[in-house]
């Protein structure tokens, strides 16, 4: 009905664990087990070169990966400058630079398989 055109079912913003795409996370964890131990302290974000120039948040990259938000991740990850300072400051000694690299690789792979547009 045309007079009801102003209404649409709004998609939920809720993070729905049932709809997670864990393929990327699994592949990162397999190759960089140190990522398991992130405690979201934000040390990486504080020192991040890209984060000081853009709204890039490297801690949130880890979160997006954990929550399977691959589309958003594929955009955000491009902002990383690979300076590696995050890895230097991480109190849990996570090779964050490698995590980012693995995410990029993983996304490239998903793209070539035409799974991601």
């Amino acid at each position: 009905m045309k007079d009801l055109d102003f209404l649409t079912s709004t998609p939920s913003r809720q993070i729905d664990y049932e709809k997670f795409d864990t393929r990327l996370l699994d592949s990162v964890l397999e190759n960089e087990t140190s990522f398991l131990t992130c405690m979201s302290c934000g040390g990486c974000t504080a020192t991040c070169s890209a984060g000081n120039l853009t709204n890039f948040n490297v801690r949130k990259i880890g979160l997006m990966l954990r929550r399977g938000e691959i589309d958003q991740l594929s955009v955000e990850i491009e902002k990383c400058m690979f300076c590696g300072k995050c890895t230097l400051v991480c109190p849990r000694d996570i090779n964050i630079r490698n995590v980012v690299l693995l995410i990029k690789k993983g996304i490239a792979l998903l793209k070539t398989e035409n799974i991601l547009s």
Binding site: R13, Q14, I15, D16, Y17, E18, T33, L36, T37, C38, M39, S40, R59, K60, L63, M64, R66, R67, R92
Partner: protein, 345 residues
């Protein structure tokens, strides 16, 4: 040392009472240990593993039990002290009209009471079959029961919920119960050992891992046991048609509401003041602090002294404590009692 041995009543036969009694007995005092349950050992008789070393609580209890068979110690079980009064230089303790005894001093070791999770209605304890408390899980593991959902299935995902009844004005408790965070991590690890395929999530506000080895256990839980941590307090749990549970929290680190279906929920229930505290404080024998625990005379210099001279205290009747802290605290109380009588002489 002294002519007639002094008589000390220890109220509560949990580990604090057992340790205090045995230390004082070794020092030559006559002790009556009064326990309201049929057996001594308190909550520890219901636990399966102790943090941080995953040891068997029965070892602690049995060591303390054998120390109780000292000639100076008399143990009275199935008796609850309902009244304390001062009668000249003695304290008189009564259990209803059945028992009355006099003592030169008292050590209160009446312990804690577990938060009744059904008071947090939004978590569905007592309503939904697959909502358990940390105490239920301990007992399940102690009895070596396999971890299964109410319908007998292997859980595929379990959520462990921190701060249940703690740091919660709505539940009437604004303090931190201190040992729940590490208990949650311990239980997460134990669950992973039993159910390697099961995903385990801890929902926390702050991880308060104060012990020197606790943070190491957190790291182990992440690294070795793949336990995942989500920063956000559980808002509600609801049962789905298949009896699994839908839970809602905010993933505060990404600032968005989060919904998850789990097969089982473990509520980390905190320590509340023992119900018997009312008995001791009724006629002003001792005072309670703002949270209902026994108030100490000086939080730095006299942690084991109540507000009444001659009445001492030890263990979780003072505040939430771990097992090792409770035992240390009991020994410290014994020392205070000894000092009290030696100064008196």
């Amino acid at each position: 040392m002294m002519n007639k041995p002094r008589h000390i009543a220890v109220i509560g036969g949990g580990i604090a009472g057992m340790e205090t009694a045995s230390r004082l007995a070794q020092a030559g005092y006559k002790i009556t240990l009064i326990e309201k349950e049929r057996i001594t050992g308190g909550h520890l008789t219901q636990w399966s593993h102790l943090f941080p070393d995953s040891s068997d609580p029965a070892i602690v209890v049995s060591r303390l039990s054998s120390a109780l068979s000292h000639q100076n110690i008399k143990v009275i079980t199935s008796t609850e002290i309902t009244d304390i009064s001062k009668n000249g230089q003695y304290f008189n303790l009564k259990s209803g009209s059945e028992m009355s005894l006099n003592a030169d001093a008292i050590v209160v070791t009446s312990g804690f009471h577990l938060f009744d999770a059904s008071r947090k209605e939004e978590y569905g304890y007592g309503l939904f079959d697959n909502v358990l408390t940390s105490a239920d899980l301990e007992l399940m593991m102690k009895n070596e029961k396999p971890i299964r959902t109410a319908s007998g299935k292997k859980p595929r995902r379990i959520a462990i919920i921190h701060c249940v009844g703690s740091r919660d004005a709505k539940a009437g408790n604004t303090y931190c119960s201190k040992v729940c965070c590490i208990t949650g991590i311990k239980q997460a690890i134990e669950l992973n050992k039993r159910l390697p395929e099961c995903e385990i999530f801890c929902f926390y506000m702050d991880l308060r891992l104060y012990g020197s080895s606790f943070d190491g256990l957190y790291l182990t839980a992440q690294q070795k046991h793949k336990v995942q941590f989500i920063r956000g307090r559980l808002s509600e749990a609801a049962e789905k048609p298949d009896k699994s549970l839908q839970i809602k929290a905010e993933d505060t680190l990404s600032g968005r509401p989060l919904r998850m279906d789990v097969d089982m929920i473990i509520l980390l229930v905190g320590m509340e003041p023992g119900i018997s505290h009312n008995n001791f404080s009724r006629n002003g024998s001792v005072q309670l602090d703002e949270n209902g625990f026994l108030k100490c005379k000086d939080v730095h210099a006299a942690r084991n002294l109540t507000t009444q001279t001659g009445i001492f205290m030890a263990g979780t009747c003072i505040c939430p404590m771990s097992v090792s802290e409770t035992l240390e605290n009991a020994r410290s109380a014994a020392l205070e009692v000894i000092n009290y009588f030696e100064r008196k002489m």
